[in-house]
């Protein structure tokens, strides 16, 4: 009763839960334009996830897997025939493909040609990671598809789940559910770490089953996790903004927006915004003297964060409102190089790992 009353008062006055605040970019997340300044840029339309298989860098884009050759070109490597939602390395030379249908295919390696399902209902595969003969799979939502993540956010769903599949037997088990769009997984001795996108936080599931919050209130929506030399890379596919936080607290507007406004023009985070003049514009985004300010509030940005072994941020690579490396969906560190896949701009950029700030 008192809690409900407090909530009503907060809602009226815009305090507490109803306050629309986004943490400032500070400390390890201080704004920079390192993603845009990267010299090595390799365009690949709709690039999504990265994986290293048998010493080869592979990237998923649409329904295809492309391989990166040392000369800096992409070559078609594998055709899946239906849209690929995420990929993961199996062992050393196998590749698992999570398809939009919910099916998981393996090519190469010990399980070549095998097919798995996490669950008949799990059709929104957002991330996979293999560890010690088990494949961990994140299912973003029980109701939305992978491409419909904006709707899932706007509906404020928390129906995602994480599954473990034994590769030998094909048995699968749900190890966590009721998550708000789990979008990234990392396995370590301490347990399995999940990035919960709509909760803006990193959770660790210990073997006992309790969840522990490792980091909360991130300034963006956390996506996939991938191992780094000593720690982890976190890609944040879209920035949070005050306006979106406000809209998430306005059910009436949100509902009518979902019904009446075409999806590309929603007030919603995006992998790449500003493509059409029908998209919403915010005050700070008005061009002055022909220039869009880098600090302008935007629905998209480029963002990936280097986490230490305790999953605390130590450095970040960014592309700001006026940048061209937006919507980072995958990061991969290999041989002293960091590859960042920016799906919003359809480009993979490469930076030396020491510049990327692993030691910062």
């Amino acid at each position: 009763m008192i809690a409900a009353l407090t909530r009503a008062i907060d809602n009226f006055l815009g305090r507490g839960e109803a306050a629309v605040t986004v943490p400032p970019l500070d400390g390890a997340l201080r704004p920079n334009r390192m993603l845009d300044d990267a010299k090595s840029r390799f365009a690949l339309e709709d690039v999504d996830d990265l994986a290293m298989v048998g010493g080869k860098l592979l990237a998923s884009a649409g329904s295809d897997i492309h391989a990166f050759d040392p000369k800096g070109r992409w070559k078609l490597h594998f055709v899946a025939g239906s849209p690929i939602a995420c990929i993961a390395t199996i062992g050393n030379d196998g590749l698992a493909l999570g398809l939009a249908s919910g099916e998981i295919l393996v090519t190469g390696g010990a399980f070549d040609g095998k097919s798995f399902h996490a669950d008949a209902q799990a059709k929104c595969l957002t991330a996979m990671v293999e560890s010690a003969g088990s494949l961990y799979v994140a299912n973003g939502s029980a109701t939305s598809t992978v491409g419909d993540w904006q709707r899932d956010l706007m509906e404020q769903n928390a129906s995602g789940s994480v599954w473990r599949i034994e590769l030998e037997s094909g048995n699968s088990a749900c190890i966590a559910d009721r998550l708000a769009w789990p979008a990234g997984l990392a396995v370590s001795e301490a347990g399995i770490t999940i990035s919960e996108a709509w909760g803006h936080r990193l959770l660790r599931l210990a073997s006992g089953g309790q969840a522990e919050i490792l980091y909360h209130d991130l300034p963006g929506y956390p996506g996939r996790l991938s191992p780094a030399a000593d720690g982890c890379w976190l890609s944040m596919f879209a920035p949070r903004s005050q306006l979106v936080e406000f809209i998430l607290r306005e059910p009436a507007y949100r509902q009518r927006m979902l019904e009446e406004v075409p999806q590309p023009f929603w007030v919603s985070p995006n992998l790449k915004s500003g493509k059409s003049f029908y998209e919403p514009l915010q005050g700070g985004g008005v061009k002055h003297l022909g220039v869009l300010k880098p600090w302008a509030p935007a629905m998209s940005a480029g963002f990936c964060v280097r986490l230490d072994s305790g999953f605390q941020p130590v450095a970040s690579l960014q592309s700001r409102a006026d940048g061209a490396t937006h919507g980072v969906t995958g990061v991969l560190e290999a041989d002293g190089q960091v590859y960042v896949a920016a799906r919003g701009d359809g480009v993979v950029v490469r930076l030396p790992a020491q510049i990327a700030g692993g030691e910062a």
Binding site: G14, A18, A19, V20, S241, Q242, L243, F246, E250, A252, Y253, R256, M257, E260, V261, P262, F265, W266, V267, F277, Y278, E279, P280, L281, Q282, G283, G284, G285, V286, K287, H288, L289, G290, L292, P297
Partner: protein, 704 residues
């Protein structure tokens, strides 16, 4: 419109939300709470006491109020200057006994008695004033000490003279008139207090010394820094307070004719309660005679009525004390929170449902293209914000900039520029008058003329005030664009009357229709508002019939036509009801049609928000302005249309490379010149097939 939209429409149609904010923005709103308390008090005692509003009681109350009111007025003046005078009660008693002694013992005449008593009061005030003003002692302690000393003097005088005062019976009608007479049916003391209040009001609100007093109360240090003689002014406020208290003592002496030990005891607390209850700030700088009068009537009524109801005097004082505490608390909270509340409630969005926006795909008449691509750039990086551009017969370009200059670019290559005139403000719309002088609408200033000799002449900066408007809408805040009728009348738009120039996004958020169109008639020197409640009226352009003009409403996304002469005089007709974007300036094209600048394109998300005023209001309160949903003014275009409202051609800058937002365009000798209020360049575009000799000036003025 669906049902919920209908409900919202009527809700925002019937409840004028913006009125609350406008009321709170008024300075006189400070008096609202004290006045309410006065009415409540009057109602309570009026119902408790029989015949409360009868003439006998009213006369009695008014007479006593006259004396009390004078004291409160004096205290108010001291408080406005940031001080406090606790010695008013003692001075009142001193005035009483001095007047009686002078009259009864010394046997002086009435005028002499009054003047000498006032002098004594002034002396007490002077003592306070010198100590507080010049020696800068604490006002509270100093006047507390004066209170005790003066009270001691009164007691000593009482000891010596009370018997002789009581023994004598002066025989002077003039003397008794002070305490018992009527002036125009009003008890003399009340009439006197009223007159003093009016004088005090005029002095405080209209005179130099009054402003000095208010300035010192507002900030003593700043007043000193701007050269106000702070010490002298403070000293004189105490002198006035002492004189008014003594004057009240004289009236009291005349009314009752007796001196007692309890005269004026506790009067300072009653006076202080009255002053603060009326809304005079204890901190200084905020106060008026009106507040003093409201407060003193309230307190007078309470004290008297409680006595009549038989409440014991102890309880009476207790009540007064509680009232003072309450008044001080309200004073502090009100002062602290008024502008906070104001900032929260002033912005009050209205319901606005725009018709469906036409598309911009290939099949649409607004189909997107890149026709502004080959534009030639003028003054890139050398001009800040050319809102409107205009060319003279020698092809020179004139434009306003952000820093209040009218800049001229010289033909033929426009590489040289000069400041043609520095007008200040934000020069917006431009037009050439018949005599070749440049007419300019200046945001924040009004309508001006720059003659061919570069003399700057103010044409008008105010119009007639509307009777039902709460905010004063006589002053022009945001004169935007103008055009000249054949007979020389100038019609110009004022985008909004509720906001300043730089607050235009807030007006867009409201989308109420706060703008108007005003006509300046140079032949008669009059300025009159002709159309009201327009949604950010912007561009104005004369049609070719000489009796009507076209105007654009930016937030309404419409073009309308208004007839100021001829058979259709006074009527408005929509020409284009549904633009896909926000229209800005309109100008003539060489073939008899019109150019229109669209400053931005409507977005579906904002169109939806316009139908949800509550959503926009909460957004304005909770989200930082830089994060607000804005009209998308990062992409604009130029449209050519005719008087029937048909769209003839559209010019886009698809990438927004040079002209992300377009606020004006002007055709001149086969070229189109393009400006943008947030841009740093002027574009020049060759128009295929346009008349190479056509100029705007000739189109307007060559026929006559």
């Amino acid at each position: 419109m669906n049902l919920s939209d209908q409900l919202t429409y009527w809700r925002y149609r019937l409840v004028p939300d913006h009125v609350l904010g406008e009321l709170l923005a008024k300075r006189w709103i400070d008096n609202a709470i004290p006045l309410l308390i006065l009415i409540v008090v009057a109602a309570i005692f009026g119902s408790l006491i029989p015949d409360f509003f009868g003439p006998a009681n009213m006369t009695n109350l008014a007479r006593q109020w006259g004396e009390f009111g004078l004291i409160v007025l004096g205290l108010m003046i001291v408080m406005v200057a940031g001080g406090i005078d606790l010695s008013v009660g003692s001075t009142f008693a001193l005035g009483n006994i001095v007047a009686l002694a002078l009259l009864n013992v010394a046997g002086l005449s009435m005028p002499v008695v009054v003047i000498v008593t006032l002098g004594v009061g002034a002396l007490v005030g002077m003592a306070n004033g010198v100590l507080v003003g010049f020696l800068r002692l604490r006002a509270f302690l100093t006047t507390l000490v004066t209170l005790i000393i003066v009270r001691a003097i009164v007691d000593m005088l009482l000891l010596n003279y009370s018997v002789r005062i009581a023994a004598a019976f002066p025989d002077s009608d003039a003397w008794y008139f002070l305490g018992e007479g009527f002036l125009l049916g009003v008890p003399f003391s009340a009439a006197l207090a009223g007159a003093v209040a009016i004088i005090a009001h005029l002095v405080l609100s209209r005179s130099r010394i009054g402003w000095h007093v208010l300035a010192i109360g507002g900030s003593r240090r700043s007043a000193h820094n701007v050269g106000i003689p702070v010490r002298r002014v403070i000293c004189s406020t105490y002198v006035i307070s002492g004189m008014l208290a003594a004057l009240a003592g004289v009236l009291f002496a005349s009314r009752l004719g007796g001196a007692g030990a309890d005269t004026g005891i506790g009067l300072e607390i009653a006076a202080l309660t009255a002053a603060v209850l009326g809304g005079n700030s204890l901190g200084g700088g905020r106060g008026s005679p009106a507040k003093a009068i409201i407060g003193s009537i309230t307190v007078m009524m309470m004290v008297n009525s409680l006595l009549r109801l038989g409440v014991t005097s102890g309880a009476n004082s207790l009540l007064l004390g509680i009232l003072l505490l309450g008044a001080v608390a309200i004073d502090v909270r009100w002062l602290k929170n008024r502008h906070k509340v104001l900032s929260k409630v002033y912005v009050s969005p209205a319901f606005s449902s725009l018709p469906a926006a036409p598309g911009t795909d290939a099949s649409s008449k607004y189909a997107i293209n890149d026709r502004l691509g080959p534009v030639e750039l003028i003054g890139l990086g050398r001009i800040d914000g050319p809102e409107d551009v205009i060319l003279d017969e020698d092809d020179n370009i004139y434009t306003g900039n952000r820093t209040g200059d009218i800049v001229r670019f010289f033909a033929p290559d426009y590489s040289r520029q000069e400041v043609y005139a520095h007008v200040g403000g934000r020069p917006l719309g431009l037009a050439f008058d018949k005599d070749g002088s440049l007419l300019v609408c200046i945001g924040g200033m009004g309508l001006y003329r720059v003659t061919t000799e570069r003399e700057i002449v103010k044409l008008t900066d105010e119009t007639n005030r509307s009777w039902l408007s709460i905010i004063d809408d006589s002053r022009l805040r945001l004169a935007d664009d103008l055009d000249v009728a054949p007979d020389g009348r100038i019609f110009f738009s004022e985008a909004t009357v509720r906001y300043e120039m730089h607050e235009w996004p807030v007006d867009g958020l409201e989308s109420r229709g706060n703008g108007r169109i005003v006509c300046y008639d140079p032949n008669r020197g009059t300025t009159r508002t002709i159309l009201r409640n327009l949604k950010f009226p912007n561009g104005i352009c004369m049609t070719h019939d000489g009796e009507s003009f076209l105007f654009a409403e930016t937030w309404g996304c419409t073009i309308s036509r208004y007839w100021f002469d001829g058979p259709k005089k006074g009527t408005v007709e929509k020409v284009i009801p549904d633009l896909p974007g926000y229209p800005d300036n309109i100008n003539r094209a060489s073939d008899g049609t019109y150019w229109l600048a669209l400053v931005g394109i409507r977005t579906p998300s904002l169109d939806l928000a316009l139908k949800m005023p509550g959503f926009r209001r909460r957004m304005a309160r909770r989200v930082a302005p830089d994060e607000w949903l804005y009209p998308n003014i990062n992409t604009g275009c130029v449209v050519r249309f005719n008087e029937e409202g048909e769209i003839l051609e559209v010019l886009w800058d698809r990438a927004g490379e040079n002209h992300p937002m377009i606020t004006s365009m002007r055709e001149h000798k086969g070229h189109l010149y393009i400006g943008g209020i947030l841009n740093n360049r002027i574009g020049k575009l060759k128009l295929e097939g346009a008349d190479e000799n056509w100029t705007g000036t000739s189109s307007y003025w060559s026929g006559s």
